[in-house]
């Protein structure tokens, strides 16, 4: 080997698999602890409210923008197809069902994952590498109770409400396109959008953000708490948290949709 070359130690497949299983086990333990802490005192309500403000209110501008423009572009793209079949009036139904059951929860989840999963990973990661997490344990405080559980509760609750706002703004965006660009009647749009929704759509659209919120917060906290390797490690954890949370949102979305169809049937 030439001088100056960096020698990267090769890992055997067994070691690689062992490492991944260990990571999965640690994640499962963190998830279990964060849920169990809900039934242990103290509950850190102040920390939960503080996190809800950071996650919920802080994410409001991006959720409003993405929700609104997603609804608008959905209406715009579907308009040409629907007009070909002479069914342009169905645009409200398409935007309404599309936003409430799928796009609202997923787009909001991805936005919040990008903003908050990374934030949690970098904040907790910095605390880990500067021994602040160890200091907290040394001071007799459980970091999962003090830091993880409030973030999980706040993300689950706030993503639920953010998704509702996103759905509404998506419908408003669709209405803007249909009335201003396509010349459809606004009252007809809202009536059609409202009547096309059935309880199954609303249930599906409100179960998903709860699960996505849980995924976003636990993944962000897990990567933060398991950070190793100084500032470079913090950067790595932050990236991994966003990537894993985003992919998991899409994977969970598929399986939850499949499960709900199996349970509730097609609309």
């Amino acid at each position: 080997m030439a001088a100056g070359d960096i020698q990267i130690p090769l890992r055997s497949p067994a070691e690689f698999a062992k490492e991944k299983v260990k990571a999965l086990q640690d994640y499962a333990l963190l998830v279990g602890q964060s849920l169990a802490n809900l039934f242990r005192r103290p509950l850190y309500v102040t920390d939960m409210i503080q996190q809800a403000d950071l996650i919920g209110v802080g994410s409001l501008p991006i959720v409003i923008l993405t929700g609104g423009f997603t609804g608008a572009v959905l209406a715009l793209n579907s308009a040409s197809t629907l007009s070909r079949f002479g069914s342009l009036t169905l645009i409200a139904q398409l935007v309404s069902v599309g936003m409430v059951t799928e796009l609202g929860p997923v787009i909001t989840g991805l936005m919040v994952a990008g903003r908050n999963s990374s934030g949690m990973a970098s904040e907790l990661g910095s605390m880990t590498v500067t021994e602040q997490i160890d200091a907290m344990r040394a001071l007799g405080t459980d970091p999962t109770k003090k830091l993880v559980t409030p973030r999980v509760v706040a993300t689950v609750v706030m993503l639920f409400f953010l998704t509702i706002i996103s759905d509404l703004l998506g419908l408003v965006g669709g209405n803007m396109v249909s009335s201003l660009l396509l010349g459809l009647d606004s009252r007809q749009y809202w009536t059609s959008a409202w009547q096309s929704l059935v309880w199954r759509d609303v249930t599906t659209g409100l179960i998903k953000p709860v699960l996505f919120g849980f995924v976003i917060s636990t993944v962000g906290c897990y990567f933060g708490m398991s950070t190793r390797g100084g500032t470079q490690g913090v950067g790595r954890s932050t990236t991994q948290a966003v990537v894993v949370a985003s992919v998991l949102i899409l994977v969970v979305d598929f399986f939850v949709t499949k499960l709900l169809i199996a349970l509730l049937g097609y609309r």
Binding site: P42, S126, M127, T130, E131, Q132, D134, A135, M136, R137, A138, L139, G140, T141, D142
Partner: protein
């Protein structure tokens, strides 16, 4: 340095088992992958004594503190802290025990998004049973002990390295723990600030009689601690008269290749014939 007079508070002494030792390591072994860091080591820390732990970098000094605190578990052996076997305790049980122990981390490990007041008050606030007025009083008292009362509303990033170390000491002593663990408290500090920190540790030892384990690279700090005492009347650290340096509860522990090669007081250290130790202290 002269420190302000502090009302003497004797910490509540918990059950003292196993020969009245605050900490007892029994045949403790720990390895990281193939590297054995601690190899079957045994030693004790009697109540009220301060023990300075020496060894070259990577010899497992800081690991000893983390093991005593239950932040890490040994591969084998037993560790008794205030009579309780920390190797057999769950994390939840350890949280209760840790409330009786103060730890000063190598890089201070202050919570950087909290003010000095919130850092020092952290443990009291977490207890949830102390009134706000009492918390404020005890925070001020702890900060006056380290002469940093004026920094109460500042953030750690606004403090110098030495000040951060002193705030970390204030945070560790605010509840008057029975045991204090110092991880290189004077590392990277200038001689004047180091002496200030050493005086605080001596004051804690002689005024509050707190049992302490102090990991350090600086032999001179430990020698100062072994040859000085804190005079409460003069309210400062004074040199012991010649010939009485063993009166202070100060001991030395030296590690080499994962083993304890010396455990004794200053007199025994001065008399040792071990070549490695003689070279180390030279």
């Amino acid at each position: 340095m002269s420190a302000p007079t502090l009302p003497l508070q004797t910490p509540a002494i918990a059950v003292k088992e196993r020969g009245r030792e605050a900490i007892r390591f029994e045949n403790v072994t720990l390895a990281f992958d193939d590297k054995v860091v601690l190899d079957n080591i045994s030693f004790g820390l009697p109540h009220g004594e301060t023990k300075a732990v020496f060894g070259v970098a990577g010899s497992g000094k800081s690991t000893i503190l983390k093991l005593a605190l239950g932040l890490m578990k040994p591969d084998s052996g037993r560790i008794y802290v205030l009579g309780q076997d920390v190797t057999q305790m769950s994390e939840n049980e350890l949280f209760d025990l840790r409330r009786q122990i103060g730890m000063v981390f190598q890089e201070s490990a202050l919570f950087d998004s909290r003010t000095v007041r919130e850092n020092v008050a952290f443990r009291l606030m977490e207890e949830g049973t102390v009134s706000d007025d009492e918390i404020e009083r005890r925070v001020r008292e702890a900060l006056s002990f380290v002469e940093l009362e004026r920094t109460v509303d500042m953030f750690p990033s606004e403090l110098s390295g030495g000040m951060r170390r002193r705030v970390a000491i204030a945070r560790a002593i605010v509840t008057q723990p029975e045991i204090l663990l110092y991880d290189s408290p004077t590392g990277g500090l200038d001689p004047v600030t180091s002496t200030t920190i050493v005086e605080l540790i001596v004051k804690q030892r002689d005024v509050y009689k707190t049992s302490s384990l102090m990991v350090t690279h600086r032999l001179q700090d430990a020698f100062i601690m072994a040859t000085h005492y804190f005079d409460r009347t003069a309210n400062k650290m004074l040199a012991l008269p010649k010939g009485v340096h063993c009166e202070v509860p100060m001991a030395f522990l030296i590690l080499r290749d994962g083993k304890v090669i010396f455990d004794g007081d200053l007199d025994e250290l001065a008399r040792t014939r071990d070549e490695y130790i003689r070279e180390y202290i030279a």
